[in-house]
C-alpha cells in the first residue's frame, strides 16, 4: 500500500548520502571541488523541483531566490562583518521573506502568466544588483575575504574554504534538502501538493484552499534555493550578479528536467550529469553549448519525464 512501507525509500536516500560521504576519500582534487559545487547546486534544484515537480508550478525566476540567499549572506558577511553562521541565516531569511512576498503576488496568476510574472520579478532583482552597485559591484561582484570565513568551534576552528570543510558542509546542506523533500512529498501535505499539480479545481472541491498550499510550496522552494545561494557564497566566496541573471533561472529547470521532474533524486542526477556534460564538452570544443542543446533535444524527444521519471514509469514504480 502506498506509503506503508517507506523503509525502501529511506534506505535508498540514506545510501546515496552515505555514498557521497564515502567518495570524498577517493576523489581526486579536481572532482572533489566539483562535487562540492554540484551538491550545493543540487540543493537549489531540489528546491526548484518541489515547485515544478510536485506542485506543477513552472517558475522562470528562481535565480532571484538563489541570489537573495547569495547576497543575503555575502553582503552581511562582507559589509557588516557577520560570522558565517549568521550570514547563512541572513541568506536563508532573505530567501524566505522574498518567497513569501513574491508568492502573495505571483500566485494570483497561473500557467504562462505565472512564468512571465516570475521572470519579470527575477529581472527586476537582477537589475537591483546593479542599482545598488556600490554595495554589490554588479557584474564584477566581490569576493569574501578568507579571514571572514573562519569558524571557531571550542578551542579549534576551521575555514569554510578548506576543501574538506567545503565538501562536508555542502553535503550537510544537500542532506537536509534531500531528506526534507522526501519527508515533504511522503507526508499528508505532499499528497495535497501533488493533487494540486494533477487537478487544482478538484483539490479545491475536496476542501483544500489551493492557494495556501501553492504558497507553502513556493516558500519551501524559495527558502531552499536561498539556503543554497547562501551556502554558495560562503563556500565559494564569490558573490556576483551572474547568479541573479536569467541563466540561473533556466539551469535548475534543465537540471530537474534531465534528472526527472517530480522525483526526489532527479535533481542530483540532473545537476551532476549536466555539470559533467558541460565540463567534458567544453574541453573538446568551444561550442560546448551545442552539445548540451543536443542532449536536451534527445531528452525531450525520447525521455520527456527525465531519467528517473522514465525509470519510475517503466521499472521502479515505488521511486518517490
Amino acid at each position: 500500500m502506498t506509503g506503508t512501507t517507506p523503509r525502501r525509500d529511506w534506505l535508498l536516500h540514506l545510501g546515496v548520502i552515505a555514498l557521497l560521504f564515502g567518495v570524498q576519500f577517493v576523489l581526486p582534487a579536481y572532482h572533489y571541488s566539483n562535487f562540492s559545487k554540484i551538491m550545493v547546486m543540487a540543493s537549489f534544484a531540489i528546491g526548484y523541483n518541489i515547485l515544478i515537480g510536485y506542485t506543477g508550478l513552472l517558475s522562470l525566476g528562481h535565480a532571484m531566490f538563489f541570489a537573495a540567499g547569495l547576497y543575503g549572506a555575502g553582503l552581511t558577511v562582507h559589509h557588516l562583518g557577520f560570522d558565517p553562521l549568521s550570514g547563512f541565516l541572513a541568506g536563508l531569511l532573505a530567501g524566505l521573506c522574498l518567497s513569501i512576498a513574491i508568492g502573495l503576488v505571483a500566485l494570483r496568476t497561473s500557467g504562462v502568466s505565472f512564468m512571465i510574472v516570475t521572470l519579470m520579478f527575477a529581472q527586476a532583482g537582477y537589475l537591483l544588483t546593479f542599482y545598488f552597485g556600490e554595495l554589490t559591484r554588479g557584474d564584477e561582484g566581490f569576493v569574501l575575504k578568507e579571514e571572514l570565513l573562519r569558524v571557531v568551534v571550542g578551542d579549534t576552528g576551521f575555514n569554510l574554504i578548506e576543501p574538506a570543510a567545503r565538501y562536508n558542509l555542502a553535503l550537510l546542506l544537500f542532506t537536509v534538502c534531500l531528506l526534507g523533500s522526501l519527508i515533504l512529498v511522503r507526508s499528508a501535505v505532499g499528497r495535497v501538493l501533488i493533487a494540486v499539480r494533477e487537478n487544482e479545481q478538484r483539490t479545491t472541491m475536496l476542501g483544500y484552499h489551493a492557494f495556501l498550499y501553492k504558497l507553502l510550496a513556493l516558500v519551501i522552494s524559495g527558502t531552499m534555493s536561498g539556503a543554497a545561494g547562501a551556502t554558495y557564497a560562503l563556500l565559494f566566496t564569490y558573490v556576483g550578479a551572474t547568479f541573479a541573471a536569467i541563466q540561473y533561472s533556466i539551469l535548475p529547470l534543465l537540471w530537474v528536467l534531465l534528472g526527472g521532474s517530480g522525483t526526489t533524486l532527479g535533481p542530483l542526477l540532473g545537476t551532476m550529469l549536466m555539470f559533467y556534460l558541460v565540463d567534458f564538452s567544453s574541453g573538446e570544443t568551444s561550442s560546448y553549448m551545442l552539445l548540451v542543446g543536443a542532449a536536451l533535444i534527445i531528452l525531450v524527444l525520447w525521455a520527456p519525464k527525465g531519467i528517473l521519471g522514465t525509470l519510475r514509469e517503466k521499472w521502479v514504480p515505488w521511486l518517490p
Binding site: M1, T2, G3, I194, R202, T204, L206
Partner: protein, 244 residues
C-alpha cells in the same frame, strides 16, 4: 428537519437565465432527485450550492447559516460535497491516495488539528471507505487504470471520505452497466442513512426507485416537485419532459 434552503436563486450567463428564481428546500436524510431536459439548469443549480458557480442573485442557507458568499473549500468543511459529472479523479495517483486526500482532510477537521492522525489510522479509514463502495483490493491500482464504472465508484468514495452532510451526485449512473446500476442504487440508499443525497439523474428507473422526492426543472425554473408517484401522474411534467 430542514438542511438546505435556496431562496429565489438565479444565475444568468449573458442573456441566458440558466437558473431562474429557484427556491428549493431539502430535508435532512432524504434522497432528492433533480430531473429535467438538457440545459434545464440542474448542474448550474448544484454548482451554486457547492460554490463552484457564484449566483447572480438569491440566497443559500445551509443548517440555518447563510453560505451564499462562502468559498467552495469552506463549504466542503460544512459538509457540502460535490461529485463531478465528468469523472475527475486523480488519474495518476493510486486509489488509496485519491481517497486518502479526502480522508486526511476530514480527519483534520474532526480532530481540530493541523495534521492528520498517523498513517495507520488514515489507512484504516481509507480501506473502510474503499470497501464500502465495493473497491476493496484496488488500493494500489492507479486510478486511471480502473474501468469507467469503477472510476465512478471511486469518485463516490472520495465524496464519502469527506464525511458529507449533503452529498451531491451529478449523473452518477451515466455510462454504468446494468449490474453496476443495481449496486449503485443499494449504495445510495446506504449513504442516505447518514447523509442527505441530492442527485441529478437521467435514468428514470433509478430515480423512481431510490428518490424520496423529485424536483423537475425546465428552462431554469422548477416545474414540479413531489413524490415519484406524484411526478409520474403530473400532466404538466409528462408534457414537458416525459414526452407523452
Amino acid at each position: 428537519m430542514t438542511l438546505l434552503v435556496t431562496s429565489e436563486l438565479s444565475r444568468r450567463f449573458g442573456g441566458l437565465n440558466a437558473v431562474d428564481q429557484v427556491s428549493l428546500v431539502l430535508d435532512r436524510g432524504e434522497i432528492r432527485a433533480i430531473i429535467g431536459p438538457n440545459g434545464a439548469g440542474k448542474t448550474t443549480l448544484v454548482s451554486m450550492i457547492c460554490g463552484r458557480v457564484a449566483p447572480s442573485s438569491g440566497r443559500i442557507v445551509f443548517e440555518d447559516e447563510d453560505i451564499t458568499g462562502m468559498r467552495p473549500w469552506q463549504r466542503v468543511r460544512h459538509g457540502i460535497v460535490y461529485t463531478f459529472q465528468i469523472t475527475s479523479i486523480f488519474g495518476n495517483l493510486t486509489c488509496f491516495d485519491n481517497v486518502a486526500l479526502a480522508a486526511q482532510r476530514s480527519d483534520t477537521w474532526a480532530t481540530g488539528r493541523w495534521w492528520p492522525r498517523g498513517h495507520g489510522h488514515l489507512a484504516e479509514t481509507v480501506l473502510a471507505v474503499l470497501d464500502r463502495v465495493g473497491l476493496s483490493g484496488y488500493g494500489d491500482a492507479r486510478a486511471s487504470t480502473l474501468s469507467y464504472g469503477h472510476q465512478r465508484l471511486l469518485e463516490v468514495a472520495i465524496g464519502l471520505a469527506l464525511r458529507p452532510k449533503l452529498l451531491i451526485l451529478d449523473e452518477p449512473t451515466q455510462g454504468l452497466a446494468e449490474d453496476e446500476i443495481v449496486s449503485f442504487c443499494a449504495l445510495a440508499r446506504d449513504i442516505a442513512r447518514e447523509a442527505t443525497v441530492l442527485l441529478i439523474e437521467h435514468n428514470m428507473p433509478v430515480v423512481m426507485e431510490i428518490a424520496d422526492r423529485i424536483t423537475v426543472m425546465d428552462n431554469g425554473r422548477i416545474l414540479a416537485e413531489g413524490s415519484p408517484a406524484e411526478i409520474k401522474a403530473n400532466a404538466q411534467v409528462q408534457r414537458a419532459y416525459l414526452g407523452t
